[in-house]
């Protein structure tokens, strides 16, 4: 079965082409069926590949020659390793569920088939990305998932916010991508190959100087920073919530944003060889985790809270990787994909039932009206808050343990604080939406069935995934087998899980006291608060700073160069043309039409000639 892994991404590609061609003719049902069939096929094959990979722990590689660059042959192909298999499974599973869910969420949209086409394109790119055996192919699909994300964020083309958000997402991630691109250039010249296996071999054999390894690793990490919304390139991710909610669930929570984490994990030997790069990853990750968590405390848009939460959780995964917690990072990636997708889909259901309202100040009391969605959201919230025995508890525990064992105590403490904040903000969200009484104006409507059962499946995974690595380390052993990365085997100190659980419960309790018991008036949210509150509400003014520093200065530079182009360069041209026509005018003055002056001129010429000839003779 594993031999056919290359077909997995092709199903969505075919679906994409079919949907694009039949864009106008297909009914909603037909379009959705094509899209769902594509990912379902991928899912089945992924499961088969996964099962086979469980039994035979060896990587399968198949490549073909793609482009000869001087002496180096760049190949394209697939490499099925443990990480890739896991990603295949996660991506195709979440994709499948979101595809089904979107059937209900996007009902009645004018460009329904196009939506499925774009989703399929994204699924194709994402599935191909995780199968890539070399850096160039990763980059290729890396950009392609970016395009998928861009298209889907801007799906509602008529919304100016969607347009701005799509553009911002593309440009900001592109900044990271360029760093990744430079990393590829550097690798090409220093290693002489772009195959990951050869790059790792070069690192291991010491062929690469340590500073080169560090440079490459940090450049790759900058690429990951862009895609995974880490500070300072995080600003696009919250704005990306302008896209339809299924898109937010699939791309901006479960899969694409995790691609940055995946990339770091995929090139992990490079990072392991460079302590500086590891430090960078750890500190950027933990800073992002706490930074985004604080912003999430005060946001009022349901999806934005979740978006900042995603940024924060991705920060967790990053600092896990930076603290040598390879398994912990990937573990959290997996569990997060499930519970965050669940939260987003539940949020989408809330949005649908409140008639496309996204402001949590206009919600409340939904528990009574829709208990199913409420309990699903609750499962997701408990998972992310790290309440045992849900999946988030185990993975978050593993991450903090990794930081602790790696001796990064500051990182560890900040991570603990961020975990507490996470429990607080997610239950703030929960109580504001489901607790109290309904504050909106539009009547609450019911949610289609087709949207509910994907959430139920996700909820099952969100609850159960934690047990793959508990009580035995089966998951960890399988993941690292044969790839030379050491999984942590030291046993967890008893106080860590207990302490974390207590902390989560305190966070939840505080949220209940503040928002559940209504001791803070919801109506006061929009009012100008104290300075720290405003700082958080405006997201630390990062967007404003970027606007002032980068956008305006670029525009200013553009203005100066524009003036330079118009006046200096064009002026130069006009000057040259002016000189020539001035010469022409002088010439034409001689030709005045008076025969007599012509004669005079020729006479003068004759005299000059005669004189000069005579003088020449005489001088000789």
């Amino acid at each position: 079965m594993i031999k056919f892994a290359w077909i997995i991404p092709l199903f969505p590609l075919v679906a994409f082409l079919l949907l694009m061609i039949g864009r106008r003719k297909l009914s909603e049902g037909a379009a959705a069926s094509i899209g769902v069939a594509g990912v379902l096929a991928s899912l089945s094959l992924s499961v088969a590949v996964f099962l086979e990979r469980l039994q035979s722990p060896s990587n399968y590689v198949a490549t073909f020659d793609w482009l000869r660059i001087d002496q180096v042959m760049v190949t394209m192909g697939i490499e099925v390793d443990a990480l890739g298999t896991l990603m295949l499974l996660v991506v195709s599973l979440v994709s499948f569920l979101v595809f089904v869910y979107a059937r209900g969420y996007m009902r009645g949209d004018q460009r329904f088939s196009t939506f499925y086409a774009y989703l399929s394109l994204f699924a194709f790119a994402m599935l191909s990305l995780v199968l890539s055996p070399n850096l160039l192919q990763i980059y290729l699909f890396w950009e392609l998932v970016g395009v998928g994300s861009f298209l889907l964020i801007g799906f509602w083309t008529f919304k100016p916010e969607a347009k701005a958000a799509a553009k911002k997402a593309f440009v900001v991630t592109r900044i990271g991508d360029v760093a990744f691109f430079v990393a590829i250039l550097l690798t090409f010249w220093k290693v002489g190959s772009l195959e990951l296996s050869q790059v790792f071999a070069a690192v291991e054999s010491g062929q690469l100087a340590p500073e080169i390894v560090t440079t490459i690793a940090i450049l790759i990490f900058i690429g990951a920073v862009g895609k995974s919304g880490q500070f300072p390139l995080h600003t696009w991710l919250p704005d990306a919530m302008e896209g339809p909610t299924p898109v937010s669930a699939l791309i901006h929570a479960a899969t694409m944003v995790a691609a940055g984490v995946y990339l770091v994990a995929r090139t992990y030997p490079l990072f392991l060889a460079s302590p500086i790069a590891m430090d960078v990853v750890a500190y950027v990750g933990v800073f992002t985790a706490i930074f985004a968590a604080t912003i999430a405390l005060v946001q009022n848009d349901i999806k934005r809270v979740l978006a900042y939460s995603t940024v924060s959780q991705l920060g967790y995964m990053m600092f896990a990787l930076g603290s040598a917690g390879y398994v912990a990072g990937i573990f959290h990636l997996t569990t997060h994909a499930f519970f965050k997708a669940l939260l987003f889909l539940a949020a989408g259901a809330v949005i649908v039932s409140c008639q496309r309202q996204q402001d949590i100040r206009q919600m409340g009391g939904l528990w009574a009206k829709n208990r199913t969605v409420g309990s699903l959201f609750l499962i997701g919230a408990l998972a992310i808050a790290g309440v045992p025995p849900l999946s988030g508890f185990f993975s978050k525990d593993a991450i903090l343990l990794a930081a602790y064992q790696d001796g990064r105590y500051i990182v560890f403490l900040v991570g603990v604080l961020a975990a507490f904040l996470t429990a607080f903000y997610v239950f703030r969200l929960f109580f504001l939406i489901f607790g109290g009484s309904y504050r909106g104006k539009e009547p609450v409507v019911s949610v289609p069935k087709v949207m509910v059962w994907p959430m139920i499946i996700l909820a099952v995974f969100a609850v159960a995934t934690g047990f793959v690595n508990f009580p035995t380390d089966a998951f960890a052993n399988w993941l690292v087998e044969g790839n030379g990365i050491v999984a942590q085997t030291a046993s967890t100190p008893w106080w860590l899980p207990v302490g974390m659980t207590i902390l989560s419960i305190i966070g939840i309790a505080m949220a209940w006291i503040l928002y559940g018991k209504r001791s803070v008036a919801v109506s006061s949210f929009g009012e100008p608060g104290p300075l720290p509150y405003r700082l958080l509400a405006r997201k630390y003014y990062v967007d404003e700073i970027y606007d002032r520093v980068f956008v305006r200065s670029l525009k200013g530079l553009g203005l100066i160069l524009q003036a330079f182009d118009r006046f200096i360069i064009e002026g130069l041209v006009k000057g040259i043309a002016g000189i020539i026509s001035w010469l022409g005018r002088i010439g034409s003055r001689l030709q005045n039409g008076q025969a007599q002056s012509y004669v005079l001129v020729s006479l003068i010429g004759l005299i000059l000639l005669v004189v000069s000839f005579t003088a020449g003779r005489l001088l000789k």
């Binding site: 034409s588 001689l590 030709q591 005045n592 039409g593 008076q594 025969a595 007599q596 004669v599 005079l600 006479l603």
Partner: protein, 101 residues
Amino acid sequence: MPVTSYLVLAAILFCIGLYGVLTKRNAVIVLLSIELMLSAANINFVAFSKYGLYANVTGQVFSLFSIAVTAAEAAVGLAILIALYRRRGTVEMDQFHSLKG
């Protein structure tokens, strides 16, 4: 030095003619001045045919040719002038500047 005096006479005549061509505004006078210059040339022909280094009669014959051509030229020139006068109502040279660039 008989040839010198002839040549001086011719040179004086030529210069008078040239002066007329360059300065006079009336086209008829310009035409007459051209005749003067041509006469100067004829005098040179005759002078050299008598006192030249290879004196022979060709010079005198050539001056006859020249006189004939001059007459024709004057006739054509005057005809053009009359046509111009009919058209433009003037024979002033500086009015004819349609060739101005």
